[in-house]
Amino acid sequence: MDILNSLMDGFSVALQPYYLFLILVGGILGTVIGMLPGLGPATGVAILLPMTFSMGPTASLITMMGVYIGAMFGGSRSSILINTPGDGAALAATFDGYPMAMKGRAESALAISAIASLIGGTIAAILMTLMAEPVAGLAIKFGPAEYCLLMVAALSMTVSMSKGNMLKGFLSMCIGLAISTVGIDGQSGLQRFTFGVLELQTGIDFLVVIIGIYALGEVFKSFSTLGEGGKKAQTKFKKIWISKDDWKRSKWPILRSAPVGFIIGALPGAGGTMASLMCYNNEKQLSKNKEEFGHGAIEGLAAPESANNAASIGAMIPMLSLGVPGSGTTAVMMGALLMLGIQPGPLLFAQHPDTAWGLIASMFVANVILAVVNLPLAGVLVRLLAIPPKILYPIVLSLAFVGCFAISASVVDFYILIILGVAGVLMARVDIPTSPMILAAIVGGQMEQSFRQGYRISNQDLGVFMDSGIAQGLLAVTVLSVLLPLIKAIRSKTTTKPA
């Protein structure tokens, strides 16, 4: 009952005309950015971040939520129409979405994509409502030792998601942790790795890391496709809607995929890409029409679309309840909250209930608004796909720099941005995943401080990191997340060895 009352309070915030307007504007901008090839929600939220600087915390978060959900809606437009996903989470939408468009069913593909996103997002928002406060309640029992272990567990889970590259995932994590140690040490006052540069004393802002890797890195990587001219998107449509038969085939895949996507999204580092690919494969296994998958099966589009929107909301759970971002986008949102003087985590619901519940209510509202925008206006919005990347990429680069300057008002961050952009290209070239680095850069400082606090409180006894049940559980998660992929890899090697 308390949850329902709190949610109603949240709706009384989110349904105010000002916030509805912000969700609408943020949602449309997010949809536009999400549908542009190579620019995902993290880049979208990062480059639109300065837009929220003059707002209060609630308005800022609600706008970013609109951008985030809009980008998730928009990501699949380019997948369906030009076979180029806006971001990783929209990759699975190319498998059956593009074949549907090729068969003259672009209207049904665009419609089921928006409907599946709406239903998936709404189911995830309901799960979020039920789970956010209990998880936050559990997190209140966390001491410094448990917090440190929580971040270690989040890092190890992210590293273990580095498919076939776990060692490189660890290296990526080490680089991220090294970035987090730059600046004046909060507890001893020691200057670490500042090389005499005054501006580095405050450390490297993780938003700069994110913008460098996502915005600059992605643009640099996209140079290889610049000369190809790109595919022309269909921009004229009949009525964007689905038939009864389409709905019959899609409803169960949508309903099944939403909770799976939500759970995967809540795991640090897993994200929408994994959720959508997993749900696509699940549906393929369950379907009676397996042979249609990859050739325009509507359930092959409905399932991943539902899953990736649900995952985007699931990723908010660790950020809001534990203060640990579950994805790149939530990391940017967390950074924005910290800049506004609000610490996400278990106390958020007690200290800023209007912000926390307003945000949760805005998830419901944003899903409805975005579905309404995306169905009738799809034909108008996809015209933006006609902007040539040759013009788009310089604009993105420029927005990345201005976004970076708005964060720190320091040109030194420009150099860091450039170094990270080039690093992003090199890391992609040698198959080093970037997500462990980004997460480590975000949580590294907090993890170190928690470790040292726990160590001091216990009179320098390391046993504090194994005493409580929560600590033991987190240690088990850490060990299992590293060991399980290793065991799996060794097993697959031994079974594939020729006799």
């Binding site: 300065p50 837009m51 600087f53 003059s54 060692l167 490189k168 660890f170 290296l171 080490c174 680089i175 942790l177 090294a178 140690t181 040490d185 507890q187 001893s188 006052g189 020691l190 670490r192 790795f193 600059l216 643009v219 640099f220 140079f223 290889s224 610049l226 000369g227 990347p389 040759k390 013009i391 990429y393 310089p394 604009i395 680069l397 420029s398 927005l399 720099f401 201005v402 300057f405 708005a406 008002a409 040109v411 420009f414 150099y415 941005l417 450039i418 952009g421 080039v422 290209v425 070239r429 040698v430 198959d431 080093i432 590294g444 170190e448 470790f451 040292r452 160590y455 320098q460």
Partner: protein, 162 residues
């Protein structure tokens, strides 16, 4: 023709070891803090350094150096288009560096117009220079007005008439 597959594991391992040694060495040479446990401030850096060295050794053992050498050879013998892409990335990075150097001195509008024009020349070529110039100017001025006037983010003003 060599049968060894090419990958970057060996060289990545080598980088990891060098990174670990340099980072750990620098951390160890940091001055001791005025108060508290002297090791506390360098505990994480030293741990990170140890992990990086360990990972580097494992990468070299599991991947070997021969596939990395093959990968480097393949990189050097890439087709002209890939080489041209790499050149574009390098040129873009240099343009970005110049942008960073002149950003505060030349002001936002001037530096961004020049930066955008240079970038559009890299991506579109010089054929459409008039169009590029127009896009650069409109973009720089509109962003300056949006940020300075609407978002209250102060961007560096014009150099001569503030």
């Amino acid at each position: 023709m060599s049968n060894i597959k090419s990958n970057w594991d060996g060289l990545t391992g080598l980088f990891s070891i060098v990174f670990g040694l340099a980072y750990g060495g620098y951390a160890y040479s940091l001055p001791q803090p005025m108060f508290g446990n002297p090791l506390e401030a360098i505990f994480l850096p030293l741990t990170v350094s140890a992990i990086a060295i360990f990972i580097g050794v494992l990468l070299i053992i599991t991947g070997g150096m021969a596939p990395s050498i093959n990968a480097v050879k393949a990189l050097l013998n890439e087709n002209p288009k890939r080489k041209s892409d790499r050149r574009k990335v390098a040129i873009t990075a240099i343009i970005c560096l110049f942008y960073a150097m002149f950003f505060e001195h030349a002001g936002y509008v001037v530096s961004t117009s020049v930066f955008m024009f240079a970038m559009l020349t890299v991506t579109c070529g010089l054929v459409f220079w008039k169009k590029s110039l127009l896009i650069s100017l409109i973009f720089a001025v509109s962003i300056f007005i949006t940020f300075n006037e609407m978002l209250s983010v102060n961007l560096p003003p014009f150099p001569f008439f503030n």
